[in-house]
C-alpha cells in the first residue's frame, strides 16, 4: 500500500501516519486538531505530495457558507445581463460559479482537499456539509443536476478548537490531535528543515526555546512554526551559540525574540523574569 510516511521535510509521528493512512484507505475525512503552529495545514500539503495528487485548498473564514464550497448562483450578474439584453441570460448554467468541492469532485484524477480552519465558520457550517462529505455528491437546484465525485477525494479538515463541532460531523471523520513535539522529535524537525545548521547553535536554540515555553503565564506559547522562523533568522544573522547560552544564575533574553514571542505582554513578562534572575545572580 502506497501510504503516507514521514518525509525529509515533514516529521510525522507513527500515530499520525496510521490516522492518515486509515483516512486515505477508507476514503473518510480526517479531522486534525492541535496547538497553532504544529503543522496542521502543512500536513495536507505533505499528504498531497506523498500521494502524488494535486491539492485543492479551501480556506474557511467567519463569513464562509457551506454552499460556497459547492457552488454559487451569481444572480446579480444575471440581472445585469438581463437588463443589457445579453443572450447568455437564457442559460442559468452560465451563472453558476463552481466552488472548491465541485472542482474536487469533477477532477478526473483523485485529489486531496484541505478544508482549513473549519471552526472559523458559523456553527452550522459542518452540519451543512454532512451529506456532501459522506456521499461525495450534491444537488444543484438551479440546473437540476447532481454532481457526483468521479474519484473520492482525500479530505483533510483542520480545526483550532474555537467552536465545538457537531457529533454527527465527528462520527464521519477520523480524528487526530497533533501533540506538541517533544525535544527528540523537535530536533528531527529542525534537522529536516535546516540540514546545514550548526549543531551547537541548534542545541542552544532548542534549550532557549523549551525554556521560553516553560515560562508560566505566557499568553501564546511559541510553537514549531515560530521556532523555525526564529532559527532562520538566527542563521541569517549568523549569531554564535554563546549568545544563547544561559545558566542557572542568568537568563538571557533570546536575541530576535520577536519571532518567538508574539505579544508585548509576553515579551514584558520575559524581560521581567530575566531581570529578576540577573538581580538574584
Amino acid at each position: 500500500m502506497a501510504g503516507f510516511r514521514s518525509t525529509d521535510k515533514y516529521i510525522a509521528s507513527r500515530d499520525l501516519e496510521v490516522a492518515v493512512n486509515a483516512a486515505v484507505t477508507l476514503q473518510r475525512p480526517l479531522l486534525v486538531k492541535g496547538e497553532p503552529g504544529t503543522g496542521k495545514t502543512v500536513l495536507a500539503h505533505e499528504v498531497a505530495a506523498a500521494l502524488g495528487r494535486p491539492l485543492i485548498e479551501w480556506h474557511v473564514k467567519s463569513t464562509t457558507k457551506a454552499q460556497q464550497g459547492l457552488y454559487e448562483y451569481d444572480a446579480v450578474s444575471r440581472l445585469r445581463d438581463g437588463q443589457l439584453g445579453d443572450p447568455r441570460v437564457h442559460d442559468i448554467g452560465n451563472y453558476i460559479v463552481r466552488g472548491k468541492l465541485w472542482e474536487a469532485f469533477e477532477s478526473d484524477e483523485p485529489v486531496v482537499v484541505l478544508i482549513d480552519e473549519v471552526d472559523k465558520a458559523d456553527i452550522e457550517f459542518p452540519n451543512d456539509l454532512l451529506l456532501e462529505l459522506d456521499r461525495m455528491q450534491f444537488f444543484v437546484y438551479e440546473t437540476r443536476k447532481t454532481i457526483k465525485a468521479k474519484q473520492r477525494p482525500v479530505v483533510i479538515i483542520t480545526s483550532n478548537n474555537e467552536k465545538e463541532l457537531p457529533d454527527a460531523f465527528l462520527r464521519r471523520c477520523f480524528f487526530h490531535y497533533i501533540r506538541f513535539p517533544d525535544r527528540e522529535t523537535m530536533e528531527k524537525i529542525v534537522q529536516a528543515h535546516f540540514p546545514d545548521i550548526r549543531n551547537d547553535l541548534a542545541r542552544e536554540a532548542l534549550n532557549v526555546f523549551f525554556q521560553v515555553r516553560d515560562v508560566p503565564g505566557l499568553k501564546k506559547k511559541p510553537a514549531t512554526s515560530e521556532l523555525l522562523d526564529w532559527l532562520k533568522l538566527l542563521m541569517v544573522e549568523d549569531l554564535s551559540p554563546d549568545v544563547l547560552r544561559s545558566n542557572e544564575k542568568q537568563v538571557v533574553i533570546p536575541p530576535l525574540h520577536g519571532a518567538l514571542l508574539k505579544n508585548e505582554q509576553d515579551v514584558h513578562l520575559f524581560e521581567r523574569l530575566a531581570f529578576l534572575a540577573r538581580r538574584n545572580g
Binding site: 500500500m1 500515530d15 490516522a19 484507505t25 444572480a75 438581463g82 465527528l170 462520527r171 480524528f175 501533540r179
Partner: protein, 392 residues
Amino acid sequence: MFSHLVLSLRTAGLPASITEWLTLMAAMKAGIADYNIDDFYYLARATLVKDERHLDRFDRVFAQCFKGLEPAEGVKVEDLPEEWLRKLAEKLLTPEEMAKIQSLGGLNAIMERLKELLAEQKGRHQGGSKWIGTAGTSPFGAYGYNPEGVRIGQDESRHRRAVKVWDRREFKDLDDTIELGTRGMKLALRRLRRFARQGAATELDLPDTIRSTARNAGTLDLKMIPERHNTVKVLLLLDIGGSMDDHVKATEELFSAARSEFKHLEYYYFHNFPYERVWKNNRRRHEEAIPTWQVLRTYGPDYKLVIVGDAAMSPYEITMQGGSVEHYNDEAGAVWLDRMLSHYRRAAWLNPTPKNSWGHVRSINMVNDLMEGRMYPLTLTGIDEMTRDLSR
C-alpha cells in the same frame, strides 16, 4: 470483535457509536493496523475518539481492556535463565556496588531471592519495595533507587515500551473534567445562546431582495426579515462569603464569562442558601437587600435560573425555619427553593466542589434532591450538561 472496547468506552462516558465501530472494523479489514498492537491503538484512537479532551479517558479504557493481552509476545521474565541474569548484573554493577551486594549475602543469595520472588510474582508490577517491576526500591527491577538493584531487560523488552504508549497518559491535561478557565466556560455557555427570529418583519433582507429581484427578471421585489434577538434570559444567583470563599475565583470566572454571553442577564447574591432576600452589591448587603418575591415578580418564567453555590452548610439551614446563620428566616430554605423552582421551569445548580466529594456532604445531597438532580459540577462537562439541559 473488540466490541467490548466500544462498550467499555461508552460506559466510561465516551460517545463512541456503532458507525465508528464499523469504521474501525472496515479499517482493520483493509489491513491498516497489520497485527501491530501500537498501530491498532493509534487506529482505534483515530476512529473512536473525536475530541482531545477524551484522549486520556480513552487511554485508560484501552489499557484496561487490553491488559491481559500484552505479555503474549516478548520476554517473559520468569523464563530468564539464571546465567543471563548473573551476567547482566555483573555487567551493570560497579565494583563498589558489587561490594555492597555482599551486604545482602552475596550475589548468589540475591539470585536465590530473585528466583523466589519471581515464583511469587504474577502480574506486572511498579513501585513498591519487594516485588520485581519498575521504579521501586526492591533490589530487582529497573529505574529503582536501591544501589543493590538488578536491572532486568529494559532495553530488550521492546514490548514493554509499546504498552507504555497508552500507559503514559500524555493527554491528561486535556481532560475536561479537571479544570476550567474563562475561555472554556465561554465555549460551554455559548450553547445557551440561541438565536431566534421572532416578531414583525423589520429589516431589509438584501441578499434575498437581490435574489428575488433577479428571479423576477429585474422587477424590484423587496424582502424583509425579522430582527435578530437573543432570546436567552438568565437569572444568576451567586453564593458569596462563608464556605464559598475558596470558590470565589471559580465563581467570578463563571460570572465574567456569563456577562458577555447574554444580553438579558440578571444576577443576585445570596449567602449559603437563597431565602426571602437577595442583594446586588455584596458590600452593602444589609442596606440594599431586595426581597426575593420582588425578583420572582420582576423576572418571568421565561428566565433560566442558574444558582452557583457549594451547597455546603448545616442541614438546618435548608429544612428549618430560623435555620439561617445570618438572620432569622420565617420560612425554611427548602420552601424558598421550591417556590423558585416552580416559578422557573428551567433551573440548575452549579457546584464548584468536585463531584466525587458530593456524596460526603449531607446538605449537597439534600439540595440535589430539591433540584431533582439538576446539580452540575463547575467544570466544562458540567456546564455543557447544564446548558444542554437548560436549552432543551
